[in-house]
C-alpha cells in the first residue's frame, strides 16, 4: 500500500534580515516524511534545526521554496487556518517544556482543547486520558512548578497528544533533562511511534537520542549533509540487555 507523504519540503530557504545584514540560515532543504515515520534531525548548535522545525510546525514562514503539509501548500493557508492546523494536526514538545506556571497539570493539558472544536463536556475526559497515558494520573492536580523535569516533559507530551495530532514535533525534548529522565522520555516517544502509530519529527544533537528514530537527517550549516536509515535502532529493551 502506498503511504502518502505527510510532509514534503522542496528547496526551502530561510534568511533573517536585520538592518543591513542578512543571514541565510537554511540554504535549500528538501525531504519528505511519510505518515507513521519517526525521523530525527541532527546537527550542531546553530545549524538551523529549530528554524526548520518552526517552519514545518507552521509557526514560521520560509523565505523561498515550498512546504506541502498533508497535501496542501502552506502558502495557501490563512492565519486562521494555520492556527487550526497547529491546534488539530500538530503537537509540539519543547526543550524548556513551556508549561503555564502556577497552573495544574490538568489545566496545562487542557490548553489546546480551549482553542479546539471539541465540546467542553469532553475536555476533562480527553485531558485525563492523555495524562494517564504519560503515567501522571497521581499528579493531575499538582501545580506545574511542583513537578520534576521529567514529569514536566511528560505533561508537555500529554498536552501535545490531547488533540490526537497527525504529527508531533519535538525540539530537543531531553535537552533539559538528566540522562535517566531523558531515556524515559525517549522510550516514551518511541512507543508513541511504534505502538500508537504517531508520526514524529525529533530534533537533537545527540547521536544516542537520534538513534531511537528509524531515520536520521543530518543538517550542517543550513544544508542536508546526509539522510539515512538507522541500522540498529535503540529500544527500551537495550537498556536491560546491558
Amino acid at each position: 500500500m502506498h503511504t502518502p507523504n505527510l510532509i514534503e519540503v522542496n528547496h526551502i530557504t530561510k534568511t533573517y534580515t536585520e538592518g543591513e545584514t542578512s543571514t541565510k540560515v537554511l540554504k535549500g532543504i528538501s525531504f519528505t516524511v511519510k505518515k507513521g515515520e519517526f525521523v530525527a534531525i541532527m546537527g550542531p548548535s546553530g545549524s538551523g534545526k529549530s528554524t526548520l522545525l518552526h517552519i514545518l510546525g507552521l509557526l514560521d514562514e520560509q523565505t523561498s521554496g515550498d512546504y506541502i503539509f498533508a497535501g496542501h501548500n502552506s502558502k495557501g493557508f490563512s492565519e486562521e487556518a494555520l492556527s487550526k492546523l497547529r491546534n488539530q494536526r500538530i503537537g509540539f514538545i519543547f526543550q524548556s517544556f513551556n508549561l503555564l506556571p502556577k497552573t495544574t497539570v490538568l489545566e496545562n493539558v487542557k490548553l489546546p482543547l480551549l482553542y479546539s472544536d471539541v465540546p467542553r463536556s469532553e475536555w476533562d475526559k480527553k485531558a485525563t486520558a492523555a495524562i494517564e497515558l504519560v503515567g501522571l494520573s497521581h499528579r493531575i492536580n499538582q501545580e506545574s512548578g511542583d513537578l520534576s523535569g521529567g514529569e514536566k516533559q511528560r505533561v508537555a507530551i500529554a498536552r501535545a497528544l490531547v488533540n490526537e495530532p497527525d504529527i508531533i514535533f519535538a525540539d530537543e525534548p531531553t535537552g533539559n533533562l538528566d540522562s535517566r529522565s531523558g531515556k524515559i522520555i525517549m522510550d516514551f516517544i518511541q512507543d508513541l511511534n511504534e505502538n500508537k502509530g504517531h508520526t514524529i519529527l525529533l530534533i537533537t544533537h545527540e547521536t544516542a537520542t537520534a538513534e531511537h528514530a528509524e531515520r536520521i537527517i543530518r543538517i550542517y550549516d543550513g544544508e542536508i549533509a546526509s539522510d539515512e536509515k538507522v541500522k540498529r535502532r535503540r529500544t527500551a529493551s537495550d537498556e536491560y540487555l546491558k
Partner: protein, 410 residues
Amino acid sequence: MTFEQYLQTSLSALKRNRSRTGLTILGIVIGIAAIILIMSLGKGAQKLILSQVQGLGTKSVVVVPGRQLEGPPSTVGLESLKKRDLEELSKPYNVPHAAHVIPLIFGNDITEYESENFRAQIYGSSDQMPVIFDADPVEGMFFSQDDVVGSANVVVIGSKVNTELFPNGGGLGSRIKIKDKSFKVVGILPSKGASSLINFDDGVIIPYTAAQNYLFGTKHFDRILVDVDTEANIDITIEDVKQTLRMTHDIDDPTKDDFSIVNQKDLADRVGVITTALTYFLAAVAAISLLVGGIGIMNIMLVSVTERTREIGLRKAVGATTKNILLQFLFESVVLTLLGGIIGIILGTTASFVASVVIGRLASFEWTFIFPIGGAVLGIVVSTIIGLIFGVYPARQAARKSPIEALRYE
C-alpha cells in the same frame, strides 16, 4: 472560545499574581470610591438645602411686599400688603387654585415666665398655618379661627421656647408675657429644626390680629403665602395673584408693582441646579484619578505582556489565533478595572454611609444617607470603558507577537 472561557482564563491569570492584581486596581478603586462618595454627599447636601428652602413645600407661592424681586428689598411699599389683600386673594373667583392663603408677620422679643426669659422669634399668622407648615402641636392644639377673629391672647410655643421658659414642664395652659402682654399657652410644637422661612423651635406663634393689635401696632403683613392646589397650577396662580393685587392696589403698569412673588419651586430648582453642577464638577476632579488609574493599568498590562511572551507563544503554538490572544488580554484589563470599580463602589458607599452618620452626629440637622445608584452605574460603566481603552494597546501588543519570537524568548 466562549465569553465564559475568556472570563475564566483571565481570572486564573489574575489569580496567579494576586498582589500585583491588587496593587494594579488600587487607582481605579480609589477613583470610583471618591466619585461615589462625592456624588452621595452631593445628593445629601442637595436634599438638605432643598428641605430648608422648601420648608413650606414646592406648591407654595410667597408674596413679598416691596418692589424688587432680586437684590435688597426696596423701602418703597414695604407696608403694601394689608388685610384687604388677604381677603381678595382668599376669594375663589380671584385665585381659583389657592387651597389656603395665609398671612405672616415677623418680629422678635423677650418672652417671660416667672423668673425665666428667652428671646424668641414671634410669628403672627392664621389658624391655617399648620396645614402648610406641617406644624401640629405635640401638646395642646393650634389656635382657632375664632381666636384670630377675636384677637385672642393665645400662643403656640416652639420646643426650645418651651424648655427655656418651662424647664420643669407644665407649660401648657400657663400664661407667658410678651412685651408685658399676657398670652395663654394653648399648644407646644415638636422639635422641627429650622427652615428658611420659619424657625419653629425658637419661635412663638400667635394670631396675626393679636400680633398687629397688641405687639407691633401695625396693619400690614410681612408675607402672604398662597398654597396652590397642585404644582401644575403654580404659574396660573402666580398670574392670578398678580392681577388681584394690582386690582386692589390700583396698579396699571406692572413695573410699578409694590409687591413681588417668590416661587418656591423656582428657588428649589435653582438650588438643585447649582448643587448638581457642583457635584459633577467634584466628580470630574475625582475622575482624573480614574485616568491615572487607567494609565497604571495599561502600564502593568504592558509589563505583563512582556513577561508572558512565552505563554503567548505557547498559546499560539497550540492553536490560539491572534484574535484569541487579543480578547484574552482585553478581558484581563476589563476584569481588572471592573473588579476595581466594584470594590470602589462598595468602599465609596460604606464611606458615604459612615460620613452620613458622622455628619448627623456632629451637626444638629438631619443628614440622610443616599445610595448613589447613578454613581454606581456610572462607576461600572466608566471602569469597563477604562479597561477597554487602556487595555487595547497592551492586548494588541500581545496579539502581534509572533509565536517563534515568543517561544525563543528567554
